[in-house]
Amino acid sequence: MSSTESPRPVQKRLLTPGVGILLALIAVGFCVAVYRFIFGLAATTNLDQQHPWGLWIAIDVATGVALAAGGFTTAALVHVFHRESFHVVARPALLTAMLGYTFVGIGLMADLGRYYNIWHPAWPTMWQGNSVLFEVGMCVMCYLTVLYIEFLPIVCERFMEDERRPRLARTCRAVHRAVERTMFLFILAGVVLSCLHQSSLGNLMVIAPSKMHALWYTPILPLLFLLSAVAVGFPMVIVESLYASWSLGLEEELTLLRRLAKPASVLLGVYLAFKVGDLLVREGYRGVAGTTQALMFAIELVFGVAIPFVMLLTVNRRTSGRWLASAGLLVVLGVALNRVNVFLVAYQPPYSTKSYFPSTGEFAVTAGLIALLMLLYRVIVTHLPVISQPVGVPKT
C-alpha cells in the first residue's frame, strides 16, 4: 500500500467472463438496432399513436442524463469549491459523464424517426426558442463538447511522455497546457449547462398537464429534476467507483467515498423534502389508492429516496463498501425509476385504450447500450490515466 496515488492506466487483462457477457449483450443490442434502422420503429418497439415516448426516451435519454450528473457535481466539488482531496473521483466521474452523454446521443438516434436530421436544432434558421426540447438539445450538445474538452488533458497525458513519438508528445504537451490554463472556463460552463438542461428535462412534461398523473405533475417538476440530478451525482460516483474497484481488482477508495456520503445524504434530503412537500401542498395523493401509479410512486419514494437517505446518514468510519454501494445503488435506481415514472407511468393520454410496455427489442437495445458504455469505460481506464492507484502493483 502506498500513499502516493495518481491517475494511471489500469494494468488489467481486458477479456474476462464479465466482459464476455457485455460483448454478448452488445451483439444482441446491435442486431436489434440494425433491424430498427432497416424496418422502422413499428417493427422494433411497442410505441403507438397513444404512447409516442417509450423506454428509449425514459432510460437511454432521461436517465442517462440524470446519472451523468456525477460529472458536474464532482467537478463543482473539486474545481469550484476546491475540495481537492476528491480529485481522485473527479476523473472517473468525468469519464462516466462523457460516456453517458455520448450514449444519450446514440440512444436518441435510435428513437428519432428522422435520425439524420438530429443536427437541425443547431441550425440557426430552425431554432425554436419556445421549445423546452430545443433548450435541452442545445445544452446537451454544448455540454457534450465541454465534456470532451475537459477529457482532452487525460488523453494528452497518455501520450505526452511518449518518447517514440516526439511530435505527438509535443502536440499533446501543447494541447494539455492550453486546455489546463483555460480549464476553469469549461468547468464553470459545464456546471451551468448541467443545471440548465437537468431542470429543463423536467420542464418537458409540464406542457402536458391534462395527460400527466397528479402524483408526478407539478409546476416545480423542473426543480425536482434538478434536485434529483444533483442528489444522484455523488451516489453515482460512489457506485461507479466501488464497482470499478471490485471489477478491476483495485483497492476501494473507501475513506474518500465515506466522506461523500454526508453531502450525498444532505442533497438527497433536500430532494426528499421538496418531493414530499410538493405532494402535500398539491394534495396529489387524493384518490390514487390502489392504482399502479400509487404503487410505482411509493416504490420510487421509499426505496429510491427515503431508505437510501437513512442509509447514507448512518455512514461512519467503519461503514463497509457493500453498505455504501447498496445505498448508492438505491439512489441511482430510484432516480432511474423516477424518470421512467414521469415519462411513461405518469403519461395518460385522454383517449388511451391500452398501456405501454417496452418490447423485447427495446430492452435489448437499451441493455446493449449500457453494456457498451461499461465496456468502453473498462477499455478507457486500462489505456488512459483515469483511475488513481497507489504507485506499484495493484492489490492482489
Binding site: S85, V88, V132, I207
Partner: protein, 352 residues
C-alpha cells in the same frame, strides 16, 4: 470537522442556485406570458375556423371520404363509407385518416345517437408549435396549424404535448416517417373562396366554415335562439386557450368524448419557465459569474485549510507544474510505514 464545512458549502451553492432560478422565473413570467397573449389576440382577429353543429351530424362519414381524397390517400369507394359497423369501436385519427366520426349514445333520445367528428382543432396557441424544437409546426395567419416534414427530426414531442391527442406518427416508415394530422386543407383555404374538403362535402350543414369571430357569434346566436337545443357552451372558445374549430352540442361535451380542459394554455406553462431562465441570458451568466466567484474565493484547497494537520491528514493535495494532483494519505493513520516523504513534505508546506 471537514464534512460539515463541505456540506455547508454545498448547501450554500444549492440555495444560491435555487434562489437565482426562482428569481429569474419570477422576472421572466411577465414578458413571456405577454407574448403568448399577444399571439392569441392576433390569430383570433384574422383566422378562420369551422363550427361543428354536432346535432346536425348524421354520421354519413362522407367527410372521412373527402378528407382522404384531399390528403391524397388511397381511399376506398364512397359507398364503403356507409358501413355503420365501424361505429362499434371508437376510432381515432391515424396516419391514413386525418378525421374520424364516432358514435355516442344520446341520453335524451336513445333513437338518435350523437355523431362526433374528430380532427385537429387548430389551437390558437398550439402546444405542438411550442413543443417542436426545429419549428416544423407553424401556426399560420389564417389559423391553420401546418407541418413541414423536411424540418422534422421525428422526436414526437408534439404528440406528447398535444392536449387533444391529435398528431399521429408513421411508425412503420423506416426512412422518412412523418407526423400526420389534419392540415385544415391549408392550400384550399388560402385561395379565395376555398373551403376544407370535409366542409364542402357535408350534406347536412353540420360543418360551417368562416371567420372564427363570426362563427363564434353564430354559435352564441344558435344557443340563444334555439333554447334547449344546445348546452350553453361553445367548445373551443376557450379550451386550451381557444381553437379554430368550435363545437355546439345538445349533450354535455364530457359525455361525447371531449377532453375537459378549461382555458389553461399549455405552452404558457413551459414558456414562462423557459423564457424566465433565459431572460437576456442573465440567469445563466449570473450563475456562471457566481460560481466563478466561489471558485476564486476558495482557490486555496479547502481540505488543506480545514484539516487539523497534526491529527493525521487524510487528504492532501500536491501541486506540480500547474497541475493539481490529489492524493489520499491514508498513511498517517492506517499505514504508518507508507511513503512518509510525500506526506511530510505536504504537511510541512501546509503548516508553514
Amino acid at each position: 470537522m471537514q464534512v460539515e464545512q463541505l456540506f455547508m458549502a454545498l448547501d450554500r451553492r444549492e440555495f444560491l442556485r435555487t434562489a437565482a432560478t426562482a428569481g429569474a422565473v419570477a422576472v421572466g413570467l411577465g414578458g413571456a406570458s405577454q407574448s403568448v397573449e399577444g399571439s392569441v389576440a392576433q390569430t383570433n382577429a384574422n383566422s378562420v375556423g369551422v363550427l361543428v353543429d354536432i346535432p346536425n351530424c348524421i354520421g354519413c362519414r362522407k367527410c372521412e371520404f373527402a378528407c382522404g381524397q384531399a390528403a391524397g390517400f388511397d381511399v376506398p369507394p364512397i359507398e364503403t363509407f356507409d358501413d355503420k359497423s365501424v361505429f362499434e369501436a371508437h376510432r381515432r385519427p391515424d396516419p391514413h385518416s386525418y378525421t374520424t366520426v364516432n358514435r355516442f349514445a344520446n341520453p335524451d333520445n336513445p333513437q338518435k345517437p350523437v355523431y362526433v367528428k374528430a380532427n385537429c382543432l387548430h389551437c390558437d396557441v398550439p402546444a405542438c408549435v411550442s413543443a417542436c424544437l426545429v419549428g416544423a409546426f407553424k401556426k399560420r395567419p389564417n389559423g391553420a396549424v401546418t407541418y413541414d416534414a423536411w424540418k422534422c427530426m421525428g422526436c414526437r414531442y408534439c404528440m406528447v404535448a398535444c392536449p387533444f391527442q391529435i398528431p399521429t406518427y408513421e411508425y412503420d416508415n423506416a426512412l422518412t416517417p412523418q407526423v400526420r394530422k389534419c392540415t385544415f386543407c391549408f392550400d384550399k383555404i388560402e385561395a379565395e373562396g376555398g373551403v376544407p374538403a370535409c366542409v364542402r362535402i357535408c350534406p347536412n350543414d353540420a360543418l360551417v366554415f368562416g371567420k372564427r369571430s363570426e362563427l363564434l357569434a353564430l354559435a352564441r346566436d344558435r344557443i340563444r335562439t334555439r333554447s334547449g337545443a344546445y348546452v350553453d357552451h361553445v367548445y373551443g372558445e376557450h379550451e386550451a386557450g381557444g381553437t379554430s374549430w368550435l363545437y355546439l352540442s345538445s349533450v354535455p361535451f364530457e359525455q361525447i368524448g371531449f377532453v375537459q380542459l378549461g382555458s389553461l394554455v399549455p405552452p404558457r406553462l413551459t414558456e414562462s419557465v423557459q423564457h424566465g431562465i433565459f431572460k437576456f441570458f442573465v440567469p445563466p451568466l449570473a450563475l456562471y459569474g457566481l460560481l466563478g466567484l466561489v471558485m476564486w474565493l476558495t482557490r486555496r484547497d479547502q481540505d488543506q485549510q480545514l484539516l487539523p494537520v497534526a491529527a493525521g491528514a487524510d487528504a492532501i493535495a500536491m501541486r506540480d507544474n500547474g497541475r493539481t494532483h490529489a492524493m489520499e494519505c491514508r498513511g498517517a493513520s492506517e499505514a504508518p510505514q507508507a511513503a512518509p516523504s510525500a506526506c511530510e513534505t505536504e504537511v510541512s508546506e501546509v503548516a508553514r
